[in-house]
């Protein structure tokens, strides 16, 4: 009798766990067609290892630099660990995790992130929570993920669910049953790749129309917490014998103020870091704001990103002394496949864009 009862309990627990985790998997957003940024962090693990350059931070890297182009032009293998509105502490913990998977020679950090020192500085808190989920849900469980969650949670998240909703995401997405899409079922076991080694391709063209106004700010000072984490990133790179390169991507908005530039220059000089402000090299890069942006200068499209990558690759080769590794056959084979997928994606997206343009009056 007792044996029977024990068996009943064991079967019930197993059945419960299976249903629970299946539902959890189903309800978690897959980010395949909308907000693709949410799928990028977990894609990293399929492409991790043997990358010489790792780009971190937000859309100013994952929409502006093309690793495939970097490989094809210079033979430098690279990857982007970017995510939407990635806060500097998230960049730090992602980098910490990255060093467990590979040993890059260069880490490229986009300095615009220094302007966001708190969840509040981003604005809408509900959006911030969504950004947190897009960065954190995709990370594999590790000490870095736990630390990143703790550092990132908004006030509402802390009050309502704490870390539990990250451990059991069903607690966050429990009401998505009403919004399930075809992709939630299709990608139940395996998700599509939405990026090319972390690069989120855009092919549309939406030229810059007007100058963005330089509205005076109350304060231009980067927050202490940003410096604290920048120091941590720097020290982490030093610890792993890796060069940290600071970069300001050529995005016209949000405005990169002179006061910001001075602070970054001071920091770079103080710690002997290479800093490239791409906004000051637009002509050398060859950016044409009528052709190379898909959202009026906020981010580059693939044509602009390829130009920027060609320019930046030369710096990586000349200043960081990165070698051309195209002679490595296994690596080359891998990147040939990546290039094929990249070209395929580009072609498909261009076709879709052109069809869309034909339909529109």
């Amino acid at each position: 009798m007792r044996k029977k009862a024990a068996l009943r309990i064991i079967i019930s627990v197993i059945l419960f766990a299976v249903i629970f985790f299946a539902l959890q998997r189903l309800l978690m957003p897959k980010y395949m067609t909308e907000s693709k940024e949410g799928a990028m962090i977990q894609e990293y693990y399929q492409n991790a290892g043997d990358n010489d350059v790792v780009f971190i931070t937000d859309c100013e890297v994952y929409e502006n630099f093309s690793p495939v182009k970097l490989w094809n032009e210079y033979g430098i293998p690279s990857i982007i660990r970017g995510s939407a509105q990635q806060m500097i502490w998230q960049s730090y913990y992602l980098l910490e995790e990255t060093f467990r998977y590979e040993s890059p020679s260069v880490v490229v950090f986009n300095v615009m992130t220094m302007t966001y020192d708190s969840a509040e500085s981003v604005g809408d808190q509900s959006k911030m929570e969504a950004y947190n989920r897009m960065t954190l849900d995709g990370m594999r469980w590790s000490k870095s993920k736990v630390s990143s969650i703790k550092a990132s949670m908004t006030k509402e998240e802390k009050e309502k669910s704490g870390i539990w909703s990250y451990i059991f995401p069903i607690l966050r997405y429990h009401d998505r049953w009403n919004d399930l899409k075809e992709e939630d079922f299709r990608c139940f076991f395996k998700q599509d790749q939405v990026t090319d080694n972390g690069y989120l391709m855009q092919v549309k063209v939406n030229p810059v129309k007007d100058d963005y106004p330089r509205i005076p700010l109350v304060s231009y000072q980067f927050g202490d917490i940003c410096y604290e984490y920048l120091d941590k990133i720097r020290l982490l790179c030093e610890e792993h014998n890796c060069q940290l390169v600071l970069v300001k991507a050529p995005s016209l908005s949000p405005i990169w103020y002179d006061e910001y530039e001075i602070q970054i220059l001071d920091y770079a000089n103080e710690h002997d870091l290479l800093y490239i402000n791409c906004l000051e090299h637009l002509d050398e890069i060859g950016i044409d704001w009528n052709q190379d942006t898909y959202d009026q200068g906020l981010h580059l499209n693939v044509y602009g990103a390829e130009k920027l990558t060609v320019y930046f690759g030369q710096i990586l080769r000349d200043e960081c002394l990165l070698q051309d590794r195209r002679s490595d056959s296994s690596l080359s084979e891998k990147w040939t496949e990546k290039t094929r997928l990249y070209d395929q994606r580009k072609e498909r997206m261009e076709k879709e864009r052109d069809q869309e343009a034909d339909i529109q009056p």
């Binding site: 539902l23 309502k160 539990w164 966050r172 429990h174 009401d175």
Partner: protein, 522 residues
Amino acid sequence: MSFASVTFFVFLGILIILYYALPHKIQWVLLLVASYVFYLFAGWKYLPFLVFTTISTYLGTNYISRNAEASKAYLEREKDHLSKEDKKAYRAQAKKRSRIAMILVLVVNIAILFFCKALLVDPFLSLAKGNTSLSFLTLGLPMGMSFYMFQSLGYLIDVYRDKAKALKNPFKLALFVSFFPQLVQGPISQFTELEESLFSEHAFDRKQIAFGLQRMLWGFFKKMVVADRIAVAVQALQGEEYRGFAFFILMIFFAIQLYADFSGGIDIAIGIAQVLGVKLPENFNRPYFSRNIADFWRRWHITLFQWMKRYIFYPISVSKPMLNLSLKGRKKFGRFGMRIPVYIGTFLTWMGTGIWHGFHWHFILWGFLNCIFIVVSEELTPAYEKFHSRVSFSNKKGYDIFQIIRTFLLMNLIQITDLFPRLSEYFGKVASLTYVFNFHILWDGTMTKLGLTGTDYIILLCGVVLMFAVSMIQRKGSVREQMLKIPCVIRYGILFIMIFAVILLGSYGIGYDASAFIYNQF
């Protein structure tokens, strides 16, 4: 720590394992530690209030007990030397000392409760709040204060009345005062009811644990799926523009919310206690099936109204001055005069209950309306009986249903005062029922502008139907006992559906404004 949190489940899981794994002798110690840990989660700054009530009750009850024992011993020792009058005088003296001790502890604790309710929570008496920089004014009401205080003071009075023994072990008293499942919103236990199951040893009982967990599950369903979902519409419908039939809908929605929230919380509390082998008193008995207001209050928040009756109503209505008044009244006004002490007792009990809810006129109106309805109903009872003896339909089922619906609507009219601190607004809305006939809100899209979607209404409808069905089944006895009779696969299927209904349909987490238990604030 909210009951509806993963942290609480982890806490409870650890407690259950330790509770049954460690020697059963120390189970009550573990419960005490767990209760204080649970309380500390609400904030350490609330702890002094709980500790003070415990210590003052301990000192009070032990003084009363020692005083009674000493006087008894003295009288026994000196029985041959004292006259009858001397003995009587000595007893009276001893009783007086005990009474003074009891009153002292009562007054100090009630003063603290009133102080906290008035200054820490209630804006009505906290006019000074804006002008003061005292940080404790921003504390909020210490969690469960009313409930643990009622329980402690009831125990104190019972010891004074020699209906309960004073606990010699202060830690056992601390557990009785702070037992965590009932700390949030009751039920309020009497010491004599709880003593045995709280302090005795409990062996692992699979059936009791399963029943406890099932009761918790039902509570979570009511709270998270029904109460917290409908809360959004209740909030919206309080707007100035919603009058007439919209106000009627608000009454119905609020009745559902209040019942699902409060009884859900009580189900969770009783379920947790049951898992730990402790039997808490029931606090609800299908209240919306009541046939009159007095009946309603015998079925709703049962333990509070038993407390009020035991410690306020009876002491007032059977006190010496009241008995004298009754005699005088009978001579002058007959039956009505004889019942004057009952009216006074009823009035004071309801006013006390109203004020306990908060220092707002609408709570006082709430108490007053309850008092009036009950007194009028009682007074009209003979007339009703006479009428029913002559009219045959009084025995029919239809009349029963009429009584149930009438009581439900009357109670809604009273309960809804909770939502309107401005009495003029309340009376205005009630009056609008008589001249605003905006039934079109049912189909003109208004209902979907209340923060609820069509799916939400379907979920609510299913939830309410389920609650109704469970109430109907309860008439034949325990639902869980009846469930044992159905095949195991179906039973487990039902439980799985309920668990996943709570997980998937519950209104919690980001994007939801899941409220704390309504009665938590009292």
